[in-house]
């Protein structure tokens, strides 16, 4: 049920030192890849707070790419390992929330791996295209009932916290 006309929107988080430079190299080498991934720069893949991924999906992204230096080559010594651990927890959480974990992907790309990064981007775009649109914001904002249910839930939580404190 692959919709050929569906163009997924994917947010990429690239670390300043390896993967952003890999994307730069892909550019310098004129390697072509799908325009669906839009790259934002962070200093390190360790900076990628799982809430960034949630925020992107909630803002209408169909997928998220996180790219860092190879294990052992992190500019900040070992922070990409922390990204790796958060990523595995995040995938678990996404699954629990009903989002296909394949929409979010962590890849390694050294500053010399423009080709590999471009391939990883194309692969993710193809995979997300197969999964179809996520329509996360649509599900909550367009459907009045669902939005209400969420608000009730939030209210209940707030009340529960008030009692505790």
């Amino acid at each position: 049920m692959v919709n050929e006309n569906f163009e997924p929107k994917i947010v990429g988080f690239c670390c300043n030192w390896c993967s952003y430079r890999a994307a730069d190299l892909a550019g310098t080498a004129r390697i072509k890849y799908s325009p669906n991934v839009r790259v934002l720069r962070v200093m390190c893949s360790g900076r990628v707070d799982p809430s960034f991924v949630m925020k992107a999906l909630a803002s209408g992204a169909d997928g998220v790419l996180i790219a860092g230096c190879h294990p052992g080559e992190c500019h900040y010594i070992e922070q990409n390992y922390k990204a790796m651990r958060r990523y595995s927890i995040l995938k678990h959480t996404l699954r629990a929330m009903g989002v296909e974990p394949d929409r979010v992907r962590l890849v390694w790309a050294s500053a010399a791996e423009g080709q590999q990064l471009a391939e990883a981007i194309d692969l993710l775009v193809a995979d997300v295209r197969k999964l179809g649109p996520l329509k996360w914001p649509g599900n909550w904002t367009e459907n009045g009932q669902r939005a209400e249910a969420l608000e009730t839930l939030l209210k209940e939580h707030e009340e529960a916290f008030e009692v505790v404190s």
Binding site: L40, F52, S59, R95
Partner: protein, 674 residues
């Protein structure tokens, strides 16, 4: 908060404009981006005219934020930050977005590229509104330098800096400086005697009034940052008071205990329990090996103390921690030889007359165990044929995939020495002969003329199981000669394994202490493999010699000098700029959970037990932001990359995706877990 944002979209000639409709992007941004005051497109933003365009707009229109959509920020962020600064705007109120490398150069579809460029501009404009002015910090550079490792690279760096008049602390793990080069007999391709060219440098370092040597010492701890490092050095107990020792060597001579020397003589000879590493050791102060000393193991002896004319022996000496303050650190920690026992089919450790390259270096060294005579393990028989096997532990997927760089030339050097000193035939088993430096190829030609037999093929095994009468009692090298295209069995008397170069066993650990990383193979990672080969990603830490990757003596010397030049440049400049991209903790809201403390690889987060809060030591923070992402209370903020900024950026980059495909109840099908 109302900002006046200026948006500048660059054509970059046709580099961007060829794929992205630049005018459309600028027009769209001018209409649709919140708080935009000016939106322009220009042929070349980085040109002086483009820059003055920004400067004038800031001055005339009172712009408070700038977005430049052009090439990679790695290329021109500095340029545009300077332009902002020139016009009196804080440089951190600029945001660059990359619509060339990340857009026009990698896409073909003009519409898609233009839409993507719009999203990238929207992201930058969204984020720039939340950016805050940041002040750059400057710190003074301490003119003293720490050099770790007293091999040839470290010695060269030390001398360059000391000769320039700057103080240097040199730390060496072994009792003497000199490194591996002190073990060698000759150096290729000139066949200079290694000791003759090395020892003058060693004594020059030893006597230099600007150099403070800590031999038999190890790096304990590094704190601080570029300009002002505090270093703790562990001076291991020598049991000899350096100030009193004259280096006469009587203690060594009279010591009754002999021990196999596994370090300098690689197990080929013995030394005493109190010993000087080698005759030309610098400093000339012996070390007492307490693990083997009769007094320390059995409680009796003390011969060395009795014979010492200056009462320099002190059995009560303890390890001492010395603290020094330096502005820069040069790592020249070198390498360790590959353990040839890891390739059992070559028989090292099992077959007596299989030698490693380091053993052979000692064997043919005039001051080695045989005084330079090339003989078999029995100590008298001269070999009639010698096999040299290349790439042992190099260019091999089961051990190390990299080329160790020096072994081909060292093998030819060995070949020459065997041919010169004995009547033996010499076979070299190689995969490729690598001789690319100055005069190296000529040396290869010379060896071909001298009659060294080069057999192209990777040796399968070295065995003593004879099949033919002429193989009896000898070592047989089984190899596929890939030039002849057939299997050969070549009987020889001696086999030399050209073991590769490996990173020091604790390279990673020492790297962590200094805050630098290693490649997968374990070599220290330089800042840029071509354009910045001696600096590292950590400011103020430089690398030289083999610890950065296998290389020969000339390259190590060149790199040592290069690292020293970089340090001298830092010292001369006197101060360094520190990027203000650092984390900070809101102490009022911090709960003191200390999760962030263990996240930081630079130990930049300190816990205040009294206040029960953590705080960031700004000088140590490198701005990775991992702690920011880890804080469960969300009270750590990463300057220039805070949550507010990144969230705005995410919203901007997805400006066209909000409410993506308004779904109906029916279409929403949750995916089953698992």
């Amino acid at each position: 908060m109302s900002e006046k944002i200026g948006i500048y979209v660059c054509h970059c000639g046709s580099n961007i404009a060829g794929t992205v409709d630049v005018e459309e992007v600028a027009r769209w941004a001018g209409k649709n981006v919140e708080d935009v005051a000016i939106s322009r497109d220009y042929k070349f933003m980085c040109s002086s005219l483009g820059q003055s365009l920004i400067e004038e707009d800031i001055k005339k229109e009172g712009l408070t934020r700038i977005v430049v959509a052009a090439c990679s920020p790695h290329l021109h962020e500095k340029t545009f930050r300077q332009a902002c600064e020139n016009a009196g705007l804080n440089p951190y109120l600029l945001q660059m977005t990359n619509i060339r490398e990340h857009c026009s150069w990698v896409h073909i579809d003009k519409n898609a590229a233009t839409e993507k460029a719009k999203a990238l501009v929207a992201a930058a404009a969204g984020r720039v509104r939340h950016q805050r002015p940041l002040e750059r910090m400057y710190v003074k550079v301490n003119p003293a330098t720490l050099v770790i490792g007293g091999g040839i690279a470290g010695l060269q760096a030390t001398l360059e800096l000391a000769d320039a008049g700057y103080p240097v602390y040199l730390v060496e793990r072994e009792p003497s400086i000199g490194g591996h080069m002190a073990q060698f007999d000759k150096t290729f391709p000139t066949l200079d005697c290694s000791a003759c060219i090395l020892t003058p440098k060693m004594s020059e370092v030893g006597q230099h009034d600007k150099v403070t040597m800590y031999t038999y010492s190890e790096l304990e701890e590094v704190s601080g940052s570029v300009g002002n490092f505090k270093v703790k050095i562990r001076q291991k107990a020598r049991m000899v008071t350096a100030a009193d020792c004259t280096g006469c060597g009587v203690c060594v001579e009279k010591c009754p205990r002999k021990v196999v020397d596994d370090v300098f003589e690689v197990g080929m000879a013995t030394r005493k329990a109190i010993y000087m590493q080698f005759p030309q050791a610098v400093p000339r102060i012996p070390v007492l090996d307490t693990a083997n000393c009769t007094y320390f193991t059995r409680g009796k002896c003390q011969v060395c103390a009795k014979v010492c004319p200056t009462n320099a022996i002190d059995y009560t000496q303890k390890d001492e921690i010395i603290e020094v303050e330096v502005g820069n650190i040069i790592m020249a920690t070198g390498w360790k030889p590959f353990d040839c026992k890891r390739i059992p089919q070559y028989g090292f450790g099992r077959l007596a007359n299989v030698y490693t390259n380091m053993e052979f270096e000692r064997l043919c060294n005039a001051s080695g165990p045989t005084n330079g005579k090339i003989v078999l393990r029995d100590g008298k028989t001269e070999p009639k044929s010698v096999a040299i096997i290349h790439c042992v532990g190099s260019r091999d997927t089961t051990t190390n995939t990299y080329c160790s760089n020096v072994c081909c030339m060292a093998a030819m050097k060995f070949g020459h020495l065997v041919l010169e000193k004995t009547q033996a035939e010499v076979y070299s088993f190689y995969i490729d002969v690598r001789a690319p430096q100055k005069d190296y190829e000529e040396f290869y030609q010379r060896l071909l003329e001298e009659g060294m037999h080069f057999v192209r093929g990777k040796v399968a095994e070295v065995t003593d199981a004879a099949r033919q009468p002429d193989e009896a009692g000898r070592l047989i090298v089984q190899v596929e000669d890939t030039l002849m295209g057939r299997q050969r069995r070549i009987p020889v008397d001696m086999v030399i394994l050209m073991g590769g170069l490996e990173p020091q066993a604790d390279a990673k650990e020492i790297g962590l202490k200094c805050g630098i990383s290693c490649s997968m193979a374990g070599w220290y990672t330089e800042r840029h493999p071509k354009l910045d080969p001696v600096a590292t990603m950590t400011d103020g830490i430089f690398v030289a010699g083999v610890c950065q990757g296998p290389k020969d003596i000339p390259a190590s010397v060149a790199q040592g000098a290069a690292a020293a030049a970089r340090v001298a440049g830092m010292i001369t400049k006197g101060q360094v700029m520190i990027e203000p991209i650092v984390a900070s903790i809101n102490e009022v809201e911090c709960s003191g959970c200390r999760i962030c403390n263990t996240m930081c690889p630079y130990n930049a987060i300190d816990y205040d037990g009294e206040k029960n809060v953590s705080h960031v030591i700004t000088a140590l923070c490198k701005g990775c932001g991992t702690c920011v992402a880890a804080c469960p209370a969300g009270v750590i903020s990463g300057a220039h990359y805070n949550n507010e900024q990144i969230f705005a950026e995410i919203e901007g980059v997805l400006w066209d995706a909000h409410g993506n495909g308004a779904a109906t109840e029916k279409e929403f099908v949750p995916v089953a877990a698992g």
